[in-house]
C-alpha cells in the first residue's frame, strides 16, 4: 500500500499533456528500435502487438521476454518522461488552460490521435483492433442513451446497426463501385471519401426511421414489454434481409470500398461522444432522466414524456446506424447473421460492464471487452469462461457497471497539476 501511495504522490504533478509526451516517447522507441533491437535482444520473434498478451498466453516461455519488453518500451519511458518533463508540460498545460475549453480539448485530442496513429501504424492488426474498438464505443455510447439515460431495456440495437450497415453499403456500392448487383458506379470513385459522411448520415437516418417501428407501438410499454418488442424488431430486420435476394440475402453483401480509415472512424467517434454528451446534459437529457425515475411525476411537471422518449430512442438508433455503416466499411462485408442475438449480447455486455448513465463508463466497457476479447484469443474456449466470469463479478460487486452515474470533468482533467499545497486534493 505504501508504495502505491507514494507512487501516486510522485506522479500527481504530471498533467495529461505530460502523460501524452511519455507515451509518445514510448511509441517512438517502439517505432525506431522495437523490432531491430529491443525485441531482438529479448528473443521475441516480433514486436508484441497487444503488449505481449497474445504471445504470453501462447508461449509461456516468452513471458519474461514480453514483460521485459513492456518494461523497457512502455513502463519505464512513460513514467520517466512524464515525471521528468513535468516542469515543461505543466506550464504548457497552464497555457492551454487559458484557451477556451473546447479548443484545449481539441488540441489534446489531436495529440492523442497522433500517438494512437503512430502506435497502431506499427502493425495492421493493431489498426483493425483499434478501428473495431472505436466502432464499439459508438455503439455502446448510443445504447447507453436508451438503456442508461432513458432507463429502458432495448434489444433492437443490432437491428438498427443492420439498417445503417445495409443502407450505407447499398449507397456506396451503387455510387462508387462497379458492382454486380447495382451496375457501374454512378459517381466517380474519387468522390467517395468526400461523400462518405453523407452516406453514413443516410444510414443513421434509416436506422432512426426504423426505430419508429419500435417506438410507436411501445409508447405505453415499459421494461419487459419494450424488451420483447425491440427483440422482435431485431429478428424482423434480420429475417427481412435474409429474404431479400436483391441485396444478397443470407449470402451477405461484400465489396464495399474501403472508405473508413482510422482517422475517419476516430473523428466520427469523437463527434458521437461530444454530441451525445451534449444531448444528455441538455434540458432534454435532464427530462429523459426524470422520465426514467418517475414517468407520472415527470408528466405532471410539464415534461412531454412521449416526445422525450421518442427523441431519445431515435437519437440512440441514429448513432447505432452510423456505427453499422462504419462497421460495414471496415470489414467490407456484411451478412444478416452478424446482426443477431450474439451481437446483442456483446453490446449489452459492453454497456453493463462499463456502466449505465455514463459516457466514460461506456468507453471503458467497450474498450475493455474488445481488448479482453483480443488478448485472450489464444485461450480459445476458456476465453468464453473468463469473460463471462468477469462480467458476473462486476454485476455482483458493482451492479450498475464499473463507472456509472458519473462523468469526468474535462476541465479538471486537462488542467495543469500544481503542487499539493496549492491545489488541494489531487485526482
Amino acid at each position: 500500500m505504501g508504495i502505491a501511495k507514494k507512487f501516486r504522490q510522485t506522479f500527481s504533478t504530471v498533467p495529461i499533456l505530460g502523460w501524452f509526451l511519455g507515451i509518445l516517447t514510448a511509441v517512438l522507441i517502439e517505432y525506431f528500435w522495437g523490432y531491430d533491437y529491443i525485441s531482438y535482444y529479448l528473443g521475441l520473434p516480433k514486436i508484441p502487438v497487444l503488449f505481449g498478451a497474445l504471445i504470453m498466453l501462447k508461449q509461456p516461455l516468452m513471458i519474461p521476454g514480453a514483460l521485459a519488453y513492456d518494461l523497457v518500451v512502455y513502463v519505464i519511458p512513460v513514467l520517466a518522461v512524464a515525471k521528468l518533463t513535468s516542469f515543461i508540460t505543466n506550464p504548457g498545460a497552464a497555457l492551454l488552460e487559458k484557451l477556451p475549453l473546447w479548443l484545449s480539448a481539441v488540441i489534446h485530442l489531436a495529440c492523442f490521435y497522433a500517438i494512437l496513429h503512430l502506435w497502431a501504424g506499427i502493425n495492421d492488426y493493431r489498426i483493425l483492433v483499434v478501428k473495431l474498438t472505436l466502432v464499439s464505443i459508438i455503439l455502446t455510447v448510443s445504447v447507453n442513451v436508451i438503456n442508461g439515460y432513458q432507463g429502458e431495456f432495448s434489444c433492437s440495437h443490432p437491428g438498427f446497426m443492420a439498417l445503417g450497415a445495409y443502407v450505407s453499403s447499398i449507397l456506396t456500392l451503387m455510387l462508387f463501385t462497379n458492382d454486380k448487383i447495382f451496375g457501374t458506379a454512378l459517381l466517380p470513385p474519387a468522390l467517395g471519401p468526400y461523400l462518405f459522411p453523407l452516406v453514413l448520415l443516410a444510414g443513421g437516418a434509416a436506422a432512426a426511421i426504423g426505430s419508429l417501428a419500435v417506438a410507436i407501438p411501445s409508447f405505453r410499454t415499459r421494461g419487459d414489454y419494450l424488451a420483447i418488442i425491440s427483440l422482435a424488431f431485431m429478428f424482423i430486420v434480420k429475417s427481412a434481409v435474409e429474404n431479400l435476394h436483391v441485396i444478397g440475402g443470407a449470402r451477405g453483401m461484400g465489396g464495399q470500398p474501403d472508405l473508413a480509415p482510422l482517422p475517419v472512424i476516430f473523428i466520427w467517434t469523437m463527434l458521437c461522444i461530444w454530441i451525445i454528451h451534449n444531448f444528455v446534459t441538455s434540458v432534454l437529457g435532464k427530462a429523459l432522466n426524470t422520465v426514467r425515475d418517475d414517468e407520472a411525476a415527470a408528466e405532471s411537471m410539464t415534461v412531454k414524456t412521449r416526445k422525450t422518449k421518442m427523441t431519445a430512442f431515435m437519437f440512440g438508433a441514429f448513432w447505432a446506424g452510423i456505427a453499422g455503416g462504419l462497421f460495414a466499411h471496415v470489414l467490407t462485408y456484411i451478412n444478416p447473421g452478424m446482426f443477431s442475438i450474439n451481437r446483442l449480447a456483446e453490446i449489452l455486455a459492453m454497456v453493463y460492464f462499463g456502466g449505465l448513465n455514463s459516457i466514460v463508463g461506456s468507453i471503458v466497457g467497450a474498450v475493455s471487452i474488445n481488448v479482453l476479447g483480443e488478448a485472450l484469443r489464444p485461450l480459445e474456449l476458456f476465453k468464453w469462461i473468463i469473460i463471462p466470469l468477469i462480467l458476473i463479478f462486476v454485476m455482483i460487486f458493482r451492479p450498475y457497471g464499473l463507472i456509472s452515474f458519473t462523468e469526468i470533468n474535462a476541465k479538471k482533467l486537462l488542467q495543469a497539476k500544481k503542487h499539493k499545497s496549492q491545489q488541494g486534493v489531487s485526482p
Partner: protein, 391 residues
Amino acid sequence: MRKIAVLTVVAFSVAMLFSSLALGARKTIIKIGINAPLTGDIPKVGEGTKYAAQMWLEDIEKAGGLEVGGKKYDVELVIEDNESKAESAVKANTKMISQDDVLAIIGPQSSKQAVPAGEVANKYKTVMISPWSTNPNTTLDRPYVFRGCFLDPFQGPVVANFITEEFGFTKAAVLYDVASDYPKGLAEVFKDAWEAKHGAGSVVAYESFTTKDTDFSSQLTKIVKSGAQVLFTPQYYNEVPLIVSQAKDLGWTGPIVGSDSWGSAETVELCGEDCYGLFFSSHYAAAGAKGATKAFIDRYEKTYGYIPDDVAALTWDALRLAQQAIQDAGKITGRIEKDREAVRDALAQIKDFDGITGKMTFTQEGDPIKCAVIVKINNQGEYEFYGSSCP
C-alpha cells in the same frame, strides 16, 4: 521512489536473464496459419481442421522439417480461433499475416467467414486456401485465394442427376434453411437443375425454415402431402437427424438425399438407424477407401478415436497443396512478401494434384476441378462409396 527504482531494476534484470536464453532465436521458419471455428456454432468442424493440421505437422516434424530447394526449414502452425464469426475471422487473418508472418493460410471453413477473410488475404497478397467454402464469391476476382472443394453449381446437378438415374423419380421436394447461405444456395441450384431436367413445377414442394429451428412438422406435412417422391435437404449434422426422424413420423416413405454438409461423423451418431440407407453427395467416402485415403482415415481414427469427416480430409489436402506449392516455389528467401508471391504462382501452376479427396487442378479463379462422390449410409452406419461424378 527509491523502492520503485530498486524494484524496477530487479524485475528488469531477472527478465533479461531469462529472455537471454532465447537469444538469437530469430531464424527463418515456415509458418502456416490455420483459421478455424474452434468455438461458436460448429466446433466439430474446427476440431477436425485442427486435428488434420496437427497430423500434417507431425509428418513434417518426423521428416526433420520441410525441404525447400535442398534446405530443411522448421515448420510452425499458427492456429487461430475465428469463433465462427466473420469479424473474428478477419481479425485472425490480419493478425496471422501482419504479426505472425505466415506464408500461407488454411481456412476459414464456412463461406460466411471465408468471403470476408479472403478479402484480407488478397489485400495483403498472402495465399489462402479455404478447404470447405462453396460460395463462388470466396475466390472470385481474388488471385491469392483458392479453395479445396467443388462448388455448389457443380454439386446441385450431380445430386439431381443421381436421383434421376438411380430412382427414376420426376417429382422432388426441397427443405432448406433460408437464413444460412450454404443450404440456401445449394437448394436454389438443385431446384434449377431439377426443373431443367423434368420441367417447370417438378419441384413440388420448396419449403424453408430458419437456423436453430427444431420443429419442421408443418413444412414436412406439406412435403408429404405434395406427392413428392424424394426429399432433398442440404442441411448440417445438427438438423439432419431431426428432419429425418420427423419426416418418418409424419409418414414419409421415400428416400431423403443430402449434400456434403451431411458428411460429419456426428450425422449418423445423432440420427441412428433412421439414416441408414440414405444417400448424399460428398467429397470422399470413408468406408471402403483405398490407398492414401485409407491410410489417412486409419491414422486419424487411431489418434483421435473417430472416423474423420470431409472437413478433416479437405483440410489435409489443402495443407498438402500448400506444402507442394512451397516446395515448388523452389526457395525461401526470408523476405516474406516475395516468398508469398512465389507460393501463389506455384500453387496456381499445380496440375493433377493427387489428394485424398480426388485429383485436383485449379481453374483461373482458384477453384479446383474435381469429382464428387455419392455416398450411401450403410447398415453399419458407415459412409460407403456408391458412385462418383466427374466434370
